[in-house]
């Protein structure tokens, strides 16, 4: 049996979890094994309807009176107990901070291997998983074999397309009550402090206006802010710009920052280093504004404007303002 960890918001599965399910279903089909899901939190039982579209046969909802707040070790132990009871040999999870750390804990607990960042999976004749996974944020791909009594995998972000199953299921929904010792709650969210930031989070924005070293100063981001606002988007930055102190690290797009997946990424004064490009490769389209027609970003863009962003962006803002 393939057990897929699913994160959700009040019974609606998260997009990355549907990507993780797409990977799990690939394995389920290849092995002829049933696909089951495990979910935590309020209203997990409402997941049944939607997960049926993706071929899930059973949804296991974990219920425990101490699990009101997230506790990674308790989540991992719940998954381990369920996997043992259901004889799940394969456990998958989406490419989120939470799921990755839970699966790492499952791997430590079961002493089992975990392949993170998977972008393709298949099953070899000998039963081993043949997979491809991202390295270097995706600038390299590793071909690997995953073997063992338990196989754990997390999906890379935005690699597995979300497609309904050929034959939808009507999942049964069951409640699981794991036996959880006190020490599994040593690490637990104590409280959540709401952010003071306004606007759309980078990871969710349909339009991202990125600024790099070419912006030149913190003040010059005002024009990028205006462009982002006119397009209903948000501003990102390269590591170079963050290191200059022009933008907070939260705005950083790249391997050690945010991974974005907007409809369009407008990269202004960004050279296009590998470490930056792996953060924005999820963008559907890329428009570069750069003085250097030889810059790497121009080679990688769909459209490019060769010119100084300090001249192009204000003019663009004015045109967009007039149009609205």
């Amino acid at each position: 049996m393939i057990l897929a960890l699913v994160e959700h918001d009040g019974g609606t599965p998260e997009e990355l979890s549907l990507e993780g399910l797409a990977m799990a279903r690939k394995l389920s089909t290849a092995e002829g094994q049933p696909l089951e899901a495990v979910a935590f939190g309020d209203e997990a039982d409402a997941l049944g309807d939607e997960l049926g579209e993706y071929g899930v046969e059973t949804v296991h909802c974990v219920a425990h009176d101490r699990l009101e707040r997230y506790a990674p070790d308790a989540w991992a132990e719940s998954v381990v107990q369920l996997a043992s009871r259901r004889e799940a040999e394969t456990i998958t999870a989406p490419g989120t901070d939470r799921s990755r750390e839970v699966l790492a804990r499952v791997g430590a607990s079961l002493d089992a291997p975990l392949a993170t960042n998977c972008l393709a999976v298949d099953v070899a004749d000998d039963g081993a998983y043949e997979l491809r996974r991202n390295r270097w944020g995706g600038s390299l791909i590793e071909h690997a074999r995953l073997t063992g009594e338990h196989k754990l995998l997390t999906a890379a972000e935005h690699e597995f397309p979300i497609e309904p199953a050929a034959s939808p299921t009507e999942p049964s929904v069951s409640t699981v009550e794991p036996d959880l010792e006190d020490d599994l709650f040593t690490v637990q969210v104590d409280r959540v402090e709401s952010g003071d930031e306004e606007g759309i989070p980078l990871g969710e924005a349909r339009v991202v206006v990125g600024g790099g070293r070419g912006v030149g100063s913190a003040e010059d981001y005002d024009q990028l802010e205006e462009l982002a606002e006119l397009l209903g988007g948000t501003v990102g930055a390269s590591r170079a710009a963050v290191n200059e102190g022009w933008r907070p690290h939260d705005d950083q797009v790249g391997q050690t920052g945010a991974k974005i997946s907007p409809d369009v990424y407008i990269a202004c004064g960004i050279s296009g280093a590998v470490q930056h490009m792996v953060g924005c490769k999820g963008a559907d389209t890329l428009l570069a504004i750069n003085t250097d027609s030889e810059a790497a970003i121009v080679q990688k863009a769909d459209w490019a404007v060769i010119g100084d962003l300090h001249e192009v962006v204000p003019e663009l803002n004015e045109t967009l303002r007039d149009a609205t």
Partner: protein
Amino acid sequence: MKVLACIKRVPNTGAKIVLTEDEQRIDTSGLGFTMSPHEECAIEEAVAQVETHGGSAHVLTLGPSEADEQLRTGLAMQADEATLLETDGEEWSPRATADAIADGIGRLGDDEGFDLLLFGNESADAANYQVGVRVANELGYPCVTGIKDLEIEDGTAIAKREVSGGEEVYELDLPAVVTVKEGLNEPRYASMRAKMQARRQEIESVEPRTESGSDGLEKVRLEAPETDDSPAEILGEGPEAVPRIVEILAEEVEVV
């Protein structure tokens, strides 16, 4: 307080990554070496916490003898001691790496152990996201991951992790393992004098007692993915391109 920062030597890749002929590794001829920005923050945090609370900051890596270069970067950033778990340069699986680190730190210096163990959230090259978690499991220490804000008060770590719309706050008693992300702090630049001093400092070399083994996740080969090299459509030069930009945004991307 004793704080340990664990780091990993990786090639400083340029705009294009070239593989060796056998596709087992990156062709590093002509490349320098570095560590992940996450790990630079781990070293900075170790040193800064010791500056605040007293004690000593250690830096450790599992890697070839050349990895002393990265350990010396840590010493130049004012870490007190450095330890190399020396390998022959082959890649160790995350489980084997965790085994070697958990076993290795038990054999360092005095018997007191570390109060705080810092790791990068994921390495720059392999990005397995699990060595810190597995070390914590072996030592029986609590572990939080992906931390961008850390305070230590009276033996308690207050750690914050970004989530959509805010920050999750964790409080855990030391000893603990914390994996960190860039943005946690601003790593200091080592002065030339500090770099010179670091060059003369002794690095303790410890032979791992555990095996490198692939442990179920076995690399077959690496591949440099095809990149879309079709040239961009040049919309124009300077502000004269604006009407075309607006057209693209309105018709192709449909965001206007």
